[in-house]
Subunit: 306 residues, 2 copies
Protein backbone atom coordinates (compact mmCIF):
# COMPACT_ATOMS: atom_id res chain seq x y z
CA UNK A 1 0.00 0.00 0.00
CA UNK A 2 1.46 3.40 -0.89
CA UNK A 3 1.42 6.45 1.35
CA UNK A 4 -1.78 8.53 1.12
CA UNK A 5 -0.87 11.51 3.35
CA UNK A 6 2.39 12.90 4.65
CA UNK A 7 0.92 13.87 8.01
CA UNK A 8 -2.37 13.02 9.72
CA UNK A 9 -3.60 14.43 13.05
CA UNK A 10 -6.01 12.42 15.19
CA UNK A 11 -7.94 14.61 17.62
CA UNK A 12 -9.38 12.58 20.48
CA UNK A 13 -7.68 9.26 21.25
CA UNK A 14 -10.42 6.72 21.95
CA UNK A 15 -11.44 3.44 20.34
CA UNK A 16 -11.77 4.78 16.79
CA UNK A 17 -8.66 6.98 16.70
CA UNK A 18 -6.49 4.28 18.25
CA UNK A 19 -7.81 1.70 15.78
CA UNK A 20 -7.15 4.13 12.94
CA UNK A 21 -3.57 4.58 14.09
CA UNK A 22 -2.87 0.84 14.20
CA UNK A 23 -4.61 0.31 10.86
CA UNK A 24 -2.61 3.17 9.29
CA UNK A 25 0.63 1.67 10.60
CA UNK A 26 -0.30 -1.82 9.43
CA UNK A 27 -0.57 -0.56 5.86
CA UNK A 28 2.00 2.25 5.95
CA UNK A 29 -0.54 4.82 4.76
CA UNK A 30 0.86 7.95 6.41
CA UNK A 31 4.29 9.46 7.02
CA UNK A 32 3.65 10.80 10.52
CA UNK A 33 0.55 10.54 12.70
CA UNK A 34 0.17 13.10 15.46
CA UNK A 35 -2.41 12.78 18.22
CA UNK A 36 -4.08 14.95 20.81
CA UNK A 37 -6.47 14.20 23.65
CA UNK A 38 -7.91 16.73 26.06
CA UNK A 39 -7.19 14.55 29.08
CA UNK A 40 -3.59 14.40 30.27
CA UNK A 41 -4.14 10.85 31.48
CA UNK A 42 -5.17 9.79 27.99
CA UNK A 43 -2.10 11.48 26.48
CA UNK A 44 0.12 9.70 29.00
CA UNK A 45 -1.47 6.37 28.16
CA UNK A 46 -1.04 7.03 24.45
CA UNK A 47 2.67 7.80 24.93
CA UNK A 48 3.14 4.71 27.06
CA UNK A 49 1.59 2.32 24.50
CA UNK A 50 3.10 4.00 21.44
CA UNK A 51 -0.20 5.29 20.16
CA UNK A 52 0.65 7.96 17.54
CA UNK A 53 4.10 8.83 16.28
CA UNK A 54 3.90 12.03 18.30
CA UNK A 55 1.43 12.91 21.04
CA UNK A 56 0.93 16.67 21.34
CA UNK A 57 -0.19 18.72 24.33
CA UNK A 58 -2.37 21.08 22.31
CA UNK A 59 -4.74 20.91 19.36
CA UNK A 60 -2.73 23.67 17.67
CA UNK A 61 0.48 21.65 17.82
CA UNK A 62 -1.23 18.46 16.66
CA UNK A 63 -2.84 19.96 13.56
CA UNK A 64 0.15 22.12 12.53
CA UNK A 65 1.29 20.98 9.11
CA UNK A 66 -1.21 18.11 8.94
CA UNK A 67 -2.62 17.21 5.52
CA UNK A 68 -5.56 15.49 7.16
CA UNK A 69 -7.10 16.21 10.56
CA UNK A 70 -9.64 13.68 11.83
CA UNK A 71 -11.98 14.69 14.65
CA UNK A 72 -12.47 11.59 16.79
CA UNK A 73 -14.22 13.27 19.73
CA UNK A 74 -17.87 12.84 20.80
CA UNK A 75 -20.26 14.55 18.39
CA UNK A 76 -21.13 17.26 20.92
CA UNK A 77 -17.48 18.30 21.25
CA UNK A 78 -16.76 18.67 17.55
CA UNK A 79 -17.88 22.29 17.15
CA UNK A 80 -15.69 23.67 19.97
CA UNK A 81 -12.69 21.60 18.86
CA UNK A 82 -13.12 22.79 15.26
CA UNK A 83 -13.21 26.41 16.44
CA UNK A 84 -10.04 25.89 18.47
CA UNK A 85 -8.03 24.27 15.71
CA UNK A 86 -9.24 26.39 12.78
CA UNK A 87 -6.54 29.11 12.95
CA UNK A 88 -3.80 26.47 12.94
CA UNK A 89 -4.89 24.43 9.92
CA UNK A 90 -2.54 24.16 6.97
CA UNK A 91 -3.91 25.71 3.75
CA UNK A 92 -5.18 22.94 1.45
CA UNK A 93 -5.59 20.50 4.33
CA UNK A 94 -8.61 18.24 4.72
CA UNK A 95 -10.64 18.04 7.91
CA UNK A 96 -12.73 14.91 8.47
CA UNK A 97 -14.44 13.26 11.40
CA UNK A 98 -15.76 9.88 12.52
CA UNK A 99 -18.99 10.99 14.20
CA UNK A 100 -22.07 8.74 14.27
CA UNK A 101 -24.30 11.65 13.26
CA UNK A 102 -23.60 13.73 10.17
CA UNK A 103 -26.06 16.61 9.78
CA UNK A 104 -25.34 17.99 13.25
CA UNK A 105 -21.59 17.62 12.78
CA UNK A 106 -21.74 19.48 9.48
CA UNK A 107 -23.77 22.27 11.11
CA UNK A 108 -21.33 22.49 14.02
CA UNK A 109 -18.01 22.15 12.20
CA UNK A 110 -18.45 23.62 8.71
CA UNK A 111 -18.76 27.27 9.84
CA UNK A 112 -15.30 27.05 11.43
CA UNK A 113 -13.49 25.62 8.40
CA UNK A 114 -11.28 28.31 6.82
CA UNK A 115 -11.31 29.14 3.13
CA UNK A 116 -8.99 26.73 1.30
CA UNK A 117 -9.44 23.87 3.75
CA UNK A 118 -11.66 20.94 2.71
CA UNK A 119 -14.18 19.50 5.13
CA UNK A 120 -15.17 15.94 4.19
CA UNK A 121 -17.25 14.27 6.94
CA UNK A 122 -17.09 10.50 7.30
CA UNK A 123 -18.34 7.72 9.55
CA UNK A 124 -16.79 4.27 9.90
CA UNK A 125 -19.50 1.78 10.88
CA UNK A 126 -17.35 -0.17 13.27
CA UNK A 127 -16.84 -0.26 16.97
CA UNK A 128 -16.90 -2.38 20.06
CA UNK A 129 -18.36 -1.99 23.53
CA UNK A 130 -14.93 -0.95 24.82
CA UNK A 131 -13.63 2.60 24.81
CA UNK A 132 -10.45 4.54 25.45
CA UNK A 133 -6.97 4.64 23.91
CA UNK A 134 -6.15 1.05 24.84
CA UNK A 135 -9.22 -0.44 23.17
CA UNK A 136 -8.13 0.05 19.55
CA UNK A 137 -6.86 -2.63 17.17
CA UNK A 138 -5.78 -2.60 13.54
CA UNK A 139 -8.48 -4.98 12.29
CA UNK A 140 -11.49 -2.97 13.51
CA UNK A 141 -12.37 -1.63 10.07
CA UNK A 142 -11.60 -4.74 8.01
CA UNK A 143 -14.47 -5.30 5.59
CA UNK A 144 -16.67 -2.88 7.51
CA UNK A 145 -18.30 0.04 5.77
CA UNK A 146 -17.02 3.55 6.09
CA UNK A 147 -19.40 6.19 4.79
CA UNK A 148 -18.10 9.41 3.30
CA UNK A 149 -20.76 12.10 3.61
CA UNK A 150 -19.72 15.15 1.60
CA UNK A 151 -21.67 18.37 1.80
CA UNK A 152 -21.74 21.46 -0.37
CA UNK A 153 -19.41 21.23 -3.35
CA UNK A 154 -16.65 18.87 -2.23
CA UNK A 155 -13.16 18.80 -3.69
CA UNK A 156 -12.93 15.53 -5.60
CA UNK A 157 -9.21 15.01 -4.93
CA UNK A 158 -9.82 15.47 -1.18
CA UNK A 159 -12.65 12.92 -1.30
CA UNK A 160 -10.49 10.47 -3.27
CA UNK A 161 -7.63 10.72 -0.76
CA UNK A 162 -9.93 10.16 2.19
CA UNK A 163 -11.45 7.17 0.42
CA UNK A 164 -7.95 5.78 -0.22
CA UNK A 165 -7.11 6.13 3.47
CA UNK A 166 -10.24 4.27 4.58
CA UNK A 167 -9.77 1.57 1.99
CA UNK A 168 -6.16 1.26 3.06
CA UNK A 169 -7.36 0.72 6.63
CA UNK A 170 -9.45 -2.22 5.38
CA UNK A 171 -12.87 -0.61 5.01
CA UNK A 172 -15.33 -0.59 2.14
CA UNK A 173 -16.32 2.95 1.25
CA UNK A 174 -19.62 4.39 0.09
CA UNK A 175 -20.73 7.97 -0.33
CA UNK A 176 -24.04 8.97 1.26
CA UNK A 177 -26.16 12.08 1.76
CA UNK A 178 -26.10 13.44 5.36
CA UNK A 179 -29.83 13.22 6.05
CA UNK A 180 -30.12 9.74 4.62
CA UNK A 181 -27.08 8.72 6.66
CA UNK A 182 -28.74 9.92 9.85
CA UNK A 183 -31.93 7.99 9.06
CA UNK A 184 -30.11 4.76 8.14
CA UNK A 185 -28.03 4.95 11.31
CA UNK A 186 -31.13 5.65 13.40
CA UNK A 187 -32.34 2.23 12.20
CA UNK A 188 -29.14 0.19 12.26
CA UNK A 189 -27.54 1.70 15.31
CA UNK A 190 -29.10 4.53 17.30
CA UNK A 191 -32.52 3.05 18.05
CA UNK A 192 -31.09 -0.44 18.78
CA UNK A 193 -28.69 1.14 21.27
CA UNK A 194 -31.44 3.09 23.01
CA UNK A 195 -33.58 -0.03 23.24
CA UNK A 196 -30.69 -2.06 24.65
CA UNK A 197 -29.92 0.62 27.23
CA UNK A 198 -33.60 0.69 28.20
CA UNK A 199 -33.94 -3.08 28.58
CA UNK A 200 -30.82 -3.26 30.75
CA UNK A 201 -32.07 -0.33 32.81
CA UNK A 202 -35.42 -2.06 33.37
CA UNK A 203 -33.73 -5.25 34.52
CA UNK A 204 -31.53 -3.29 36.89
CA UNK A 205 -34.52 -1.47 38.30
CA UNK A 206 -36.88 -4.32 39.08
CA UNK A 207 -37.31 -5.06 42.73
CA UNK A 208 -38.82 -8.53 42.31
CA UNK A 209 -35.93 -9.89 40.23
CA UNK A 210 -32.51 -9.33 41.74
CA UNK A 211 -29.46 -8.10 39.88
CA UNK A 212 -27.71 -11.34 40.72
CA UNK A 213 -30.52 -13.30 39.06
CA UNK A 214 -30.34 -11.06 36.01
CA UNK A 215 -26.59 -11.63 35.82
CA UNK A 216 -26.67 -15.39 36.42
CA UNK A 217 -29.42 -16.07 33.94
CA UNK A 218 -28.43 -13.53 31.31
CA UNK A 219 -27.32 -16.08 28.72
CA UNK A 220 -30.94 -16.58 27.68
CA UNK A 221 -30.80 -13.47 25.48
CA UNK A 222 -30.33 -10.52 27.78
CA UNK A 223 -26.52 -10.58 27.84
CA UNK A 224 -26.35 -9.45 24.20
CA UNK A 225 -28.23 -6.30 25.19
CA UNK A 226 -25.77 -5.66 27.99
CA UNK A 227 -22.84 -5.62 25.57
CA UNK A 228 -24.45 -2.86 23.53
CA UNK A 229 -25.52 -1.04 26.68
CA UNK A 230 -21.90 -1.02 27.86
CA UNK A 231 -20.90 1.42 25.11
CA UNK A 232 -19.46 4.83 25.89
CA UNK A 233 -22.11 7.01 27.66
CA UNK A 234 -20.78 10.38 26.45
CA UNK A 235 -20.69 9.30 22.83
CA UNK A 236 -24.22 7.94 22.99
CA UNK A 237 -25.67 10.90 24.87
CA UNK A 238 -24.39 13.11 22.08
CA UNK A 239 -25.74 10.82 19.37
CA UNK A 240 -29.27 11.02 20.73
CA UNK A 241 -29.12 14.75 21.35
CA UNK A 242 -27.90 15.40 17.80
CA UNK A 243 -29.85 12.82 15.81
CA UNK A 244 -33.08 13.62 17.59
CA UNK A 245 -35.54 13.70 14.71
CA UNK A 246 -34.56 10.47 12.99
CA UNK A 247 -34.24 8.60 16.28
CA UNK A 248 -37.65 9.78 17.46
CA UNK A 249 -39.17 8.80 14.11
CA UNK A 250 -37.78 5.25 14.28
CA UNK A 251 -38.67 4.98 17.97
CA UNK A 252 -42.23 5.90 17.04
CA UNK A 253 -42.35 3.13 14.45
CA UNK A 254 -40.80 0.74 16.97
CA UNK A 255 -43.34 1.39 19.71
CA UNK A 256 -46.17 1.13 17.17
CA UNK A 257 -44.98 -2.35 16.16
CA UNK A 258 -44.27 -3.33 19.75
CA UNK A 259 -47.81 -2.41 20.74
CA UNK A 260 -49.18 -4.50 17.86
CA UNK A 261 -47.20 -7.52 19.05
CA UNK A 262 -48.15 -6.80 22.66
CA UNK A 263 -51.78 -6.85 21.59
CA UNK A 264 -51.23 -10.16 19.77
CA UNK A 265 -49.84 -11.60 22.99
CA UNK A 266 -52.73 -10.24 25.03
CA UNK A 267 -55.37 -11.57 22.63
CA UNK A 268 -53.52 -14.85 22.05
CA UNK A 269 -53.04 -14.32 18.32
CA UNK A 270 -50.41 -17.01 17.70
CA UNK A 271 -50.58 -16.74 13.92
CA UNK A 272 -49.58 -13.08 13.96
CA UNK A 273 -46.65 -13.79 16.27
CA UNK A 274 -45.51 -16.79 14.22
CA UNK A 275 -45.66 -14.86 10.94
CA UNK A 276 -43.74 -11.94 12.41
CA UNK A 277 -41.04 -14.18 13.90
CA UNK A 278 -40.65 -16.05 10.61
CA UNK A 279 -40.22 -12.91 8.54
CA UNK A 280 -37.35 -11.56 10.64
CA UNK A 281 -35.16 -14.61 9.90
CA UNK A 282 -34.56 -13.46 6.33
CA UNK A 283 -32.67 -10.32 7.37
CA UNK A 284 -30.29 -12.40 9.48
CA UNK A 285 -29.54 -14.62 6.47
CA UNK A 286 -28.84 -11.50 4.39
CA UNK A 287 -26.38 -10.18 6.95
CA UNK A 288 -24.48 -13.45 7.07
CA UNK A 289 -24.40 -13.72 3.28
CA UNK A 290 -23.09 -10.16 3.10
CA UNK A 291 -20.20 -11.16 5.37
CA UNK A 292 -21.25 -8.73 8.10
CA UNK A 293 -21.62 -11.35 10.84
CA UNK A 294 -20.67 -14.89 11.69
CA UNK A 295 -23.09 -17.80 11.32
CA UNK A 296 -21.48 -19.61 14.25
CA UNK A 297 -23.97 -20.27 17.08
CA UNK A 298 -23.95 -17.45 19.65
CA UNK A 299 -21.40 -15.53 17.54
CA UNK A 300 -18.91 -18.35 18.14
CA UNK A 301 -18.57 -17.58 21.83
CA UNK A 302 -17.13 -20.55 23.64
CA UNK A 303 -18.66 -22.16 26.71
CA UNK A 304 -18.90 -19.93 29.74
CA UNK A 305 -15.97 -19.95 32.11
CA UNK A 306 -15.64 -19.35 35.79
Amino acid sequence: MSQVYDRVALIGLGLIASSMFWAIKRAGLVGEVTGYARSEATRDTARRIGLCDRVCDSVAEAVAGADLVVLCVPVGAMGPVAAEMAPHLKPGATVSDVGSVKRAVIDAVAPHIPEGVHFIPAHPLAGTEHSGPESGFAELFDNRWSLIVPHGDPDQAAVDNLRALWEGMGANVEVMDPDHHDLVLAVTSHTPHLIAYTMVGVADDLRRVTDSEVIKYSAAGFRDFTRIAASDPTMWRDVFLTNKEATLEILGRFTEELFALQRAIRTGDGDQLFDYFTRTRAIRRGIIQAGQDTDKPNFGRGPATR
Copy 2:
Protein backbone atom coordinates in the same frame (compact mmCIF):
# COMPACT_ATOMS: atom_id res chain seq x y z
CA MET B 1 -18.89 -39.70 35.57
CA SER B 2 -21.07 -42.61 36.61
CA GLN B 3 -24.34 -43.57 34.93
CA VAL B 4 -27.39 -41.70 36.22
CA TYR B 5 -30.20 -43.49 34.34
CA ASP B 6 -30.45 -46.80 32.51
CA ARG B 7 -32.71 -45.41 29.81
CA VAL B 8 -33.69 -41.87 28.83
CA ALA B 9 -36.22 -40.88 26.17
CA LEU B 10 -35.93 -37.53 24.39
CA ILE B 11 -39.23 -36.41 22.86
CA GLY B 12 -38.70 -33.80 20.16
CA LEU B 13 -35.26 -33.72 18.50
CA GLY B 14 -34.29 -30.07 18.10
CA LEU B 15 -31.40 -27.98 19.39
CA ILE B 16 -31.87 -28.82 23.08
CA ALA B 17 -32.54 -32.57 22.74
CA SER B 18 -29.66 -33.04 20.33
CA SER B 19 -27.31 -31.12 22.60
CA MET B 20 -28.52 -33.20 25.55
CA PHE B 21 -27.76 -36.39 23.64
CA TRP B 22 -24.20 -35.35 22.80
CA ALA B 23 -23.61 -34.08 26.35
CA ILE B 24 -24.96 -37.34 27.79
CA LYS B 25 -22.67 -39.36 25.53
CA ARG B 26 -19.66 -37.17 26.34
CA ALA B 27 -20.01 -38.05 30.02
CA GLY B 28 -21.50 -41.55 29.75
CA LEU B 29 -24.50 -40.62 31.87
CA VAL B 30 -27.11 -42.98 30.45
CA GLY B 31 -27.23 -46.60 29.28
CA GLU B 32 -29.50 -46.07 26.28
CA VAL B 33 -31.05 -42.88 24.89
CA THR B 34 -34.14 -43.25 22.72
CA GLY B 35 -35.56 -40.42 20.66
CA TYR B 36 -38.76 -39.49 18.92
CA ALA B 37 -39.74 -36.61 16.66
CA ARG B 38 -43.14 -36.09 15.08
CA SER B 39 -41.64 -35.30 11.69
CA GLU B 40 -40.37 -38.26 9.66
CA ALA B 41 -37.74 -36.02 8.09
CA THR B 42 -36.36 -35.17 11.53
CA ARG B 43 -36.26 -38.85 12.49
CA ASP B 44 -34.41 -39.64 9.25
CA THR B 45 -31.88 -36.89 9.94
CA ALA B 46 -31.41 -38.14 13.50
CA ARG B 47 -30.73 -41.68 12.27
CA ARG B 48 -28.32 -40.40 9.64
CA ILE B 49 -26.21 -38.38 12.09
CA GLY B 50 -26.35 -40.94 14.91
CA LEU B 51 -28.50 -38.75 17.14
CA CYS B 52 -29.88 -41.09 19.85
CA ASP B 53 -28.98 -44.72 20.33
CA ARG B 54 -32.37 -45.66 18.94
CA VAL B 55 -34.78 -43.40 17.06
CA CYS B 56 -38.39 -44.59 17.47
CA ASP B 57 -41.38 -44.06 15.17
CA SER B 58 -43.84 -43.47 18.01
CA VAL B 59 -43.92 -41.77 21.39
CA ALA B 60 -45.15 -45.02 22.92
CA GLU B 61 -42.12 -46.94 21.70
CA ALA B 62 -39.70 -44.19 22.74
CA VAL B 63 -40.92 -43.91 26.34
CA ALA B 64 -41.40 -47.65 26.93
CA GLY B 65 -39.08 -48.70 29.75
CA ALA B 66 -37.53 -45.24 30.08
CA ASP B 67 -36.46 -44.13 33.56
CA LEU B 68 -36.52 -40.51 32.45
CA VAL B 69 -38.59 -38.93 29.67
CA VAL B 70 -37.67 -35.38 28.68
CA LEU B 71 -40.19 -33.34 26.69
CA CYS B 72 -38.17 -31.20 24.28
CA VAL B 73 -41.06 -29.94 22.14
CA PRO B 74 -42.39 -26.37 21.95
CA VAL B 75 -44.28 -25.39 25.09
CA GLY B 76 -47.64 -25.41 23.30
CA ALA B 77 -47.17 -29.05 22.25
CA MET B 78 -46.32 -30.43 25.68
CA GLY B 79 -49.88 -31.09 26.89
CA PRO B 80 -50.92 -33.20 23.88
CA VAL B 81 -47.60 -35.12 23.88
CA ALA B 82 -47.96 -35.81 27.61
CA ALA B 83 -51.47 -37.15 27.05
CA GLU B 84 -50.25 -39.41 24.26
CA MET B 85 -47.33 -40.89 26.18
CA ALA B 86 -48.99 -41.20 29.61
CA PRO B 87 -50.35 -44.77 29.21
CA HIS B 88 -46.93 -46.03 28.15
CA LEU B 89 -44.82 -44.62 30.98
CA LYS B 90 -42.93 -47.04 33.21
CA PRO B 91 -44.05 -46.99 36.86
CA GLY B 92 -41.57 -45.03 38.96
CA ALA B 93 -40.27 -43.14 35.93
CA THR B 94 -39.57 -39.41 35.93
CA VAL B 95 -40.99 -37.03 33.34
CA SER B 96 -39.21 -33.73 32.83
CA ASP B 97 -39.12 -31.03 30.17
CA VAL B 98 -36.93 -28.18 28.91
CA GLY B 99 -39.61 -25.58 28.25
CA SER B 100 -38.87 -21.86 28.58
CA VAL B 101 -42.08 -21.31 30.54
CA LYS B 102 -42.88 -23.32 33.63
CA ARG B 103 -46.32 -22.48 35.05
CA ALA B 104 -48.10 -23.19 31.77
CA VAL B 105 -46.16 -26.42 31.26
CA ILE B 106 -47.07 -27.61 34.73
CA ASP B 107 -50.72 -26.81 34.09
CA ALA B 108 -50.66 -28.61 30.74
CA VAL B 109 -48.59 -31.66 31.64
CA ALA B 110 -49.23 -32.47 35.32
CA PRO B 111 -52.84 -33.62 34.85
CA HIS B 112 -51.66 -36.36 32.48
CA ILE B 113 -48.94 -37.79 34.72
CA PRO B 114 -50.04 -41.17 36.11
CA GLU B 115 -49.89 -42.09 39.78
CA GLY B 116 -46.41 -43.36 40.62
CA VAL B 117 -44.66 -41.31 37.93
CA HIS B 118 -42.69 -38.21 39.02
CA PHE B 119 -43.01 -34.97 37.10
CA ILE B 120 -40.03 -32.67 37.67
CA PRO B 121 -40.05 -29.68 35.29
CA ALA B 122 -36.75 -28.09 34.32
CA HIS B 123 -35.34 -25.41 32.05
CA PRO B 124 -31.75 -25.22 30.81
CA LEU B 125 -30.86 -21.56 30.15
CA ALA B 126 -28.86 -22.23 27.04
CA GLY B 127 -29.49 -22.08 23.35
CA THR B 128 -28.38 -20.62 20.09
CA GLU B 129 -30.16 -18.96 17.19
CA HIS B 130 -30.01 -22.25 15.27
CA SER B 131 -32.62 -24.97 15.51
CA GLY B 132 -33.24 -28.55 14.44
CA PRO B 133 -31.55 -31.92 15.08
CA GLU B 134 -28.27 -30.93 13.44
CA SER B 135 -27.77 -27.79 15.55
CA GLY B 136 -26.89 -29.52 18.82
CA PHE B 137 -23.45 -29.83 20.39
CA ALA B 138 -22.14 -31.36 23.61
CA GLU B 139 -20.83 -28.10 25.09
CA LEU B 140 -24.10 -26.15 24.95
CA PHE B 141 -24.80 -26.49 28.67
CA ASP B 142 -21.25 -26.12 29.98
CA ASN B 143 -21.32 -23.69 32.90
CA ARG B 144 -24.81 -22.53 31.97
CA TRP B 145 -27.61 -22.64 34.49
CA SER B 146 -30.28 -25.29 34.40
CA LEU B 147 -33.25 -24.54 36.62
CA ILE B 148 -35.20 -27.34 38.24
CA VAL B 149 -38.70 -26.12 38.98
CA PRO B 150 -40.51 -28.68 41.12
CA HIS B 151 -44.19 -28.37 41.89
CA GLY B 152 -46.41 -29.98 44.48
CA ASP B 153 -44.56 -32.43 46.73
CA PRO B 154 -41.65 -33.65 44.63
CA ASP B 155 -39.84 -36.94 45.18
CA GLN B 156 -36.39 -35.99 46.45
CA ALA B 157 -34.62 -38.93 44.82
CA ALA B 158 -36.18 -38.03 41.48
CA VAL B 159 -35.03 -34.41 41.86
CA ASP B 160 -31.53 -35.55 42.84
CA ASN B 161 -31.20 -37.80 39.80
CA LEU B 162 -32.35 -35.06 37.44
CA ARG B 163 -29.88 -32.68 39.05
CA ALA B 164 -27.10 -35.25 38.61
CA LEU B 165 -27.97 -35.58 34.91
CA TRP B 166 -27.84 -31.82 34.30
CA GLU B 167 -24.64 -31.45 36.27
CA GLY B 168 -23.19 -34.34 34.32
CA MET B 169 -24.06 -32.49 31.11
CA GLY B 170 -21.99 -29.55 32.36
CA ALA B 171 -24.69 -27.29 33.80
CA ASN B 172 -24.98 -25.55 37.15
CA VAL B 173 -28.30 -26.37 38.78
CA GLU B 174 -30.60 -24.27 40.92
CA VAL B 175 -34.10 -24.93 42.14
CA MET B 176 -36.71 -22.23 41.57
CA ASP B 177 -40.42 -21.65 42.08
CA PRO B 178 -42.46 -21.73 38.82
CA ASP B 179 -43.94 -18.23 39.04
CA HIS B 180 -40.63 -16.65 39.94
CA HIS B 181 -39.01 -18.57 37.09
CA ASP B 182 -41.51 -17.14 34.63
CA LEU B 183 -40.88 -13.59 35.87
CA VAL B 184 -37.07 -13.92 35.81
CA LEU B 185 -37.19 -15.35 32.30
CA ALA B 186 -39.54 -12.60 31.16
CA VAL B 187 -36.72 -10.20 32.08
CA THR B 188 -33.65 -12.12 30.93
CA SER B 189 -35.09 -13.73 27.84
CA HIS B 190 -38.68 -13.30 26.76
CA THR B 191 -38.94 -9.51 26.64
CA PRO B 192 -35.47 -9.10 25.05
CA HIS B 193 -36.50 -11.55 22.34
CA LEU B 194 -39.75 -9.71 21.65
CA ILE B 195 -37.90 -6.41 21.45
CA ALA B 196 -35.30 -7.84 19.09
CA TYR B 197 -37.99 -9.31 16.85
CA THR B 198 -39.76 -5.95 16.83
CA MET B 199 -36.65 -3.92 15.97
CA VAL B 200 -35.78 -6.26 13.11
CA GLY B 201 -39.37 -6.14 11.89
CA VAL B 202 -39.33 -2.33 11.90
CA ALA B 203 -36.11 -2.24 9.90
CA ASP B 204 -37.54 -4.68 7.39
CA ASP B 205 -40.69 -2.63 7.05
CA LEU B 206 -39.31 0.84 6.44
CA ARG B 207 -39.72 2.12 2.94
CA ARG B 208 -37.14 4.91 3.20
CA VAL B 209 -34.28 2.65 4.26
CA THR B 210 -33.78 -0.39 2.06
CA ASP B 211 -33.19 -3.93 3.29
CA SER B 212 -29.82 -3.91 1.57
CA GLU B 213 -28.82 -0.81 3.54
CA VAL B 214 -29.98 -2.43 6.77
CA ILE B 215 -27.94 -5.52 5.94
CA LYS B 216 -24.79 -3.70 4.80
CA TYR B 217 -24.68 -1.34 7.74
CA SER B 218 -25.89 -3.76 10.40
CA ALA B 219 -22.56 -4.00 12.22
CA ALA B 220 -23.32 -0.75 14.03
CA GLY B 221 -25.48 -2.59 16.58
CA PHE B 222 -28.45 -3.95 14.71
CA ARG B 223 -26.88 -7.28 13.72
CA ASP B 224 -26.93 -8.48 17.34
CA PHE B 225 -30.70 -8.05 17.35
CA THR B 226 -30.97 -10.10 14.15
CA ARG B 227 -29.25 -13.06 15.76
CA ILE B 228 -31.82 -13.18 18.54
CA ALA B 229 -34.62 -12.55 16.06
CA ALA B 230 -33.48 -15.58 14.04
CA SER B 231 -34.56 -17.96 16.81
CA ASP B 232 -37.20 -20.63 16.24
CA PRO B 233 -40.60 -18.97 15.52
CA THR B 234 -42.74 -21.82 16.86
CA MET B 235 -40.89 -22.00 20.13
CA TRP B 236 -41.14 -18.24 20.64
CA ARG B 237 -44.79 -17.97 19.63
CA ASP B 238 -45.55 -20.53 22.34
CA VAL B 239 -43.40 -18.73 24.92
CA PHE B 240 -45.33 -15.48 24.51
CA LEU B 241 -48.72 -17.18 24.45
CA THR B 242 -47.95 -19.09 27.65
CA ASN B 243 -45.95 -16.53 29.64
CA LYS B 244 -48.39 -13.76 28.83
CA GLU B 245 -48.74 -12.08 32.21
CA ALA B 246 -45.07 -11.77 33.13
CA THR B 247 -44.09 -10.71 29.61
CA LEU B 248 -46.79 -8.04 29.50
CA GLU B 249 -45.71 -6.79 32.91
CA ILE B 250 -42.08 -6.40 31.86
CA LEU B 251 -43.10 -4.93 28.52
CA GLY B 252 -45.11 -2.34 30.41
CA ARG B 253 -42.07 -1.41 32.49
CA PHE B 254 -39.94 -1.34 29.35
CA THR B 255 -42.21 1.06 27.44
CA GLU B 256 -42.49 3.27 30.52
CA GLU B 257 -38.69 3.60 30.66
CA LEU B 258 -38.43 3.97 26.91
CA PHE B 259 -40.91 6.84 26.96
CA ALA B 260 -38.90 8.53 29.72
CA LEU B 261 -35.72 8.30 27.64
CA GLN B 262 -37.62 9.39 24.52
CA ARG B 263 -38.78 12.44 26.43
CA ALA B 264 -35.20 13.14 27.53
CA ILE B 265 -34.14 13.05 23.87
CA ARG B 266 -37.00 15.31 22.84
CA THR B 267 -36.30 17.86 25.57
CA GLY B 268 -32.52 17.59 25.16
CA ASP B 269 -31.88 16.36 28.71
CA GLY B 270 -28.31 15.13 28.25
CA ASP B 271 -27.69 14.57 31.96
CA GLN B 272 -30.53 12.09 32.24
CA LEU B 273 -29.28 10.18 29.21
CA PHE B 274 -25.68 10.18 30.43
CA ASP B 275 -26.65 8.94 33.91
CA TYR B 276 -28.82 6.19 32.48
CA PHE B 277 -26.12 5.01 30.06
CA THR B 278 -23.52 4.99 32.83
CA ARG B 279 -25.63 2.90 35.18
CA THR B 280 -26.17 0.10 32.68
CA ARG B 281 -22.43 -0.61 32.39
CA ALA B 282 -22.33 -2.18 35.84
CA ILE B 283 -24.59 -5.08 34.87
CA ARG B 284 -22.31 -5.93 31.96
CA ARG B 285 -19.34 -6.10 34.30
CA GLY B 286 -21.31 -8.41 36.60
CA ILE B 287 -22.10 -10.78 33.75
CA ILE B 288 -18.48 -10.99 32.68
CA GLN B 289 -17.30 -11.51 36.26
CA ALA B 290 -19.87 -14.29 36.66
CA GLY B 291 -18.39 -16.04 33.63
CA GLN B 292 -21.61 -15.77 31.65
CA ASP B 293 -20.11 -13.87 28.72
CA THR B 294 -16.82 -13.01 27.11
CA ASP B 295 -15.11 -9.66 27.60
CA LYS B 296 -13.59 -9.82 24.13
CA PRO B 297 -14.70 -6.89 21.94
CA ASN B 298 -17.78 -7.76 19.90
CA PHE B 299 -17.96 -11.19 21.60
CA GLY B 300 -14.62 -12.06 19.99
CA ARG B 301 -16.07 -12.14 16.49
CA GLY B 302 -13.28 -11.83 13.96
CA PRO B 303 -13.23 -9.29 11.14
CA ALA B 304 -16.05 -9.61 8.65
CA THR B 305 -15.45 -11.83 5.67
CA ARG B 306 -16.75 -11.79 2.16
